[in-house]
Subunit: 651 residues, 2 copies
Amino acid sequence: MATSELDVPRFGQRHRRRGPISLPTGRTAPLAGAARPPALSPLLPARPMFQTFDETALTNAVAPRVGRLRQALAKLKVDAFLVPRGDRHKGEYVPAHDERLKWLTAFSGSAGLAVVAPQRAVLFVDGRYTVQARQQTDTSLFEIEQVPAAKTSDWLLDALGTGQTVGFDPWLHSIDEVERLEAALKPSGIRLKPLARNPMDKIWGADQPPPPAAPVVAHPLSRAGRSAQEKIADVQAALAKGGEDAIVLTLTDSIAWLFNIRGSDIPHTPAVLAFAIVPAEGRASLFVERDRLSETHASQLEDIADLVPPEALTEQIDALKAARKRVRLNPATAAYWFSRRLGEKSVSRGPDPCQRAKAIKNAAEIKGARSAHHRDAVAVCRFLAWFDQEAPSGRLDEIAAARQLEAFRAETGKLKEISFDTIAGSGPNGAIVHYRVNTESNRRIGRGELFLVDSGAQYADGTTDVTRTIAIGRPKPEMRTHYTLVLKGHIAIATAVFPEGTRGVELDPLARQALWRHGLDYDHGTGHGVGSYLSVHEGPQSISRRGEAVLEAGMIISNEPGFYLEGAYGIRIENLVLVNPPQKPEGGDRAMLSFETLTLAPFDRRLIDTKLLTGEEKAWVDAYHKRVMAEVGPELDAADRRWLEGATKRL
Amino acid sequence: MATSELDVPRFGQRHRRRGPISLPTGRTAPLAGAARPPALSPLLPARPMFQTFDETALTNAVAPRVGRLRQALAKLKVDAFLVPRGDRHKGEYVPAHDERLKWLTAFSGSAGLAVVAPQRAVLFVDGRYTVQARQQTDTSLFEIEQVPAAKTSDWLLDALGTGQTVGFDPWLHSIDEVERLEAALKPSGIRLKPLARNPMDKIWGADQPPPPAAPVVAHPLSRAGRSAQEKIADVQAALAKGGEDAIVLTLTDSIAWLFNIRGSDIPHTPAVLAFAIVPAEGRASLFVERDRLSETHASQLEDIADLVPPEALTEQIDALKAARKRVRLNPATAAYWFSRRLGEKSVSRGPDPCQRAKAIKNAAEIKGARSAHHRDAVAVCRFLAWFDQEAPSGRLDEIAAARQLEAFRAETGKLKEISFDTIAGSGPNGAIVHYRVNTESNRRIGRGELFLVDSGAQYADGTTDVTRTIAIGRPKPEMRTHYTLVLKGHIAIATAVFPEGTRGVELDPLARQALWRHGLDYDHGTGHGVGSYLSVHEGPQSISRRGEAVLEAGMIISNEPGFYLEGAYGIRIENLVLVNPPQKPEGGDRAMLSFETLTLAPFDRRLIDTKLLTGEEKAWVDAYHKRVMAEVGPELDAADRRWLEGATKRL
């Protein structure tokens, strides 16, 4: 998938934020020109696939809403109010209930922050979204500012004066975020004021979608590989080591991993929007409505933890404070509400130990990942065969292609969800790294163009994420040069050998060397961690300039260098790789780590300029293609198998 | 040179510390078996070249000295005392006056810390020195502990109890160092106490060498490229930007650079042991005895700065405090004395702006570097020709080879000093990364062995540092394999192309890839910054796992991957490289940085296994050799030129 977000500045707390979620309205027109359209599988969740816009109506709603917010602020006696895009868990996806920023401003980007003051208002977005923000919001009301150059604190210092107050919802900002802003405003005598209730919710009123409360299901031991009991014991050992009495977990993928549960509260990531408290000794508390679980599942969970109604969270936090317990919070991700409620004396700042533990997959999870990738490979290869046949007609468009790919995945009979909104960019749309097709941007895929498709699936045994770039008709020589340079970077990562202790930042340049020599580069990271039937973006591992986490055996990470020629085409080649256990190469004196490529789908041979590849690189492509044919071929029908045979021929 | 120190843990404050300095006693026997020994040039500074040991006498002196220190501590009412290796500037080299650790413990390593308590004493050293420390000191008195596993604070917590006090010399520890130790001891009620006078100096008494006070000379504008006035104005602009009133400079290479002065207070680095204060407005103060400068030079300097007697430093610091000035100190390198004297309210913590500015060489410095490298190349090539003729006789030893190399450098007529103690390791000695030959370790260079020689020169126009590994007789196949893998890493750096903003950490793996694939690696950084007729180790730039500084056009850095087979041989190939200005490669859309190799000396063709090189790598070696022949050949006599012709033939 697009890792552009990895290196793109944003407001966020976690390095895994994604493009706009689907709007809860509209449906696309019937499939345009797609041959052989298999019926969408009944397993496919009922949700609108592609965003449609009625820009004008949304923009017109901005002024009255801002007006009502200003009235509310006057009553609350605050001189400005912060409206971030985010929920109480600061995760990548935000439920409709928490889309306050979009409701207020009509801006639908995946990251942003509005500040509303009595006379002025501003919308901060990053470089991906400045154009979109101007189009969507009412620019007679909102100034548009681009982060990180523009800073919230500078705007507030300019708009407000000594003694004035900035209101905020303490549930929607991390501890770090609030403290940084507080420090910047303090010298000028501007105060931050946490509000007990978010005024947006009052003015949104009955139209605000309810908080999600989807069923919570068990992630069976056969897939999880380790029991919740064992995992909780490890967290408790970490707390004991740190001399802490408890930890508050706020990240939903940590909680899903720890308790071996899954849900569907938010799109694409099967996490459960819940909090948890794990004491160093005694039973953990999972804050979730008991009726979201089956009775059997609830009783099983109650063997190891208390299921506590979410309303009782405040009470338990207060009890920890009263008992003078030392409670670990991760200031980068935990809501400010927690540190304020606990008080400085009770808070111990530290990492969430689940994040690293979750990233290192165990044998059951690795087995699941291989099996999920095998299954996904069949769908992807069917799609590529289909696309190769249909695209030259000139009747295919991006939405049709994306729907078809999802349909093939649904036909596996195992698809739970796609793991993110498919990126299907033809021609110049491929060069927009964060591109998500919508009914307005949708374009026909033309001959002589490149088509970039980045997609993934959630299966119960694993999460996938794969990008292929395909030529329609005869590619231009420079397309082949650029594709081959990207492929060289991809191969450099796939074949990397490195000692234990190596961090992602140290491998990142290997993926770029070939491009750098030609004065080219891409402005996103090379790889992000991927969960096990969890988030398609997970930390702490990454291959990027910021990849400070050590790569450890069992981690799954994407390998996705790219190249983007603005206004012309985008190229990205992405496989997921698994870090192998250390092994001593023959003749060596040290054990080394390496990668196993999990994803199986051919590279477009028409785009490979073999003159630019070394003998070793060619041999790697041939061996990979041979493996794709051997593993996927037998699962295809005769026509698709013939296609795959051609697509995996020796270079 | 050996960058092992780059990545080896140490006590230190700066990442440029070096092997043992020469002992101020002894001289080696006459040249052993060296043919054609040119007389040492009269320009060569008179100093003992190689360490000789009378281990027993030194070790026997330890007990009485520790006894006297313990008596002194009892009188001072402190329960332990810290004896670091270092002076008030925390630089790489330490003048004899400050070799308190060696005088007390007989340990001559380049990094270490002793702690003496009434009943116990400990010597902390890093992994390079555990064996040497045991051999040199009196182990019936000193426990030997290895950092970073062992911590000073843990030892003190074990040896002392609540209410006890640890004395230290506030001039010999950085602010960071003292604060970290203080924080670790505080919870146990152990206090740190800065002592007004170092008790070591009293017991050392009349035998303690006086502080150095060598002449201070001008570094002419033609070589410096920028006037001291301009540089001071830049520092003042940085202070104004930071809202600070002054900066105290404590790093000797910063001061030498800023005032365009050079000296010979310490071996190998032509810096001046001095302090300076630069106010945001007004005249800078350089604390140095006026009579160390010529009258002309002193008056010239007084046009732009005050020459203040060192005794007046305290007074000026007190005046800054009294005037409530904000004074910048670098807590990582400035002595604790300064922050204590100024008081917390007056101290502003920040970097020394001279360090980065000094690292980016201007046109005059670059011209000087090229010229110094050309001159040095002639000496090195003469040495290599000589060595190739003499070594097979089996009569050469390491000291003879090192002396001969220095003699060729002296014959240039321009040698000021060698830039560090030559590393000349044959056979197994080559595998000791921090090896410095002494009369005890000196061994004859045998046939079938490898000889590693790492050396450099200080010329008025530039500093050099070069390593070659040479085969004597026919090398074993595995030597050729290992050499070629190291060469591949060297070429990968030499030919690297990278965008602006790239940090050294991102290039480091390029030098290791070939070794990693064979399960091999080296435990030191790949490159360190090099000064302009200043320290052969300078920051902030480095190519290493810790290379967080961005590489900028004009920086000079070493390129020195290696491989070490314990007990058998060491391989290192080192050239200095200069970061070129950004240039846009043809067909590219971004400007890229690259390196110009400054060092000119052939690689040993007998050690290159061409089967392991790609076509591009072979072409690079051939082009480099052609350049060596073209630039150095005309400067050699006929015999040496013939040798160089053979040594630079196409692969």
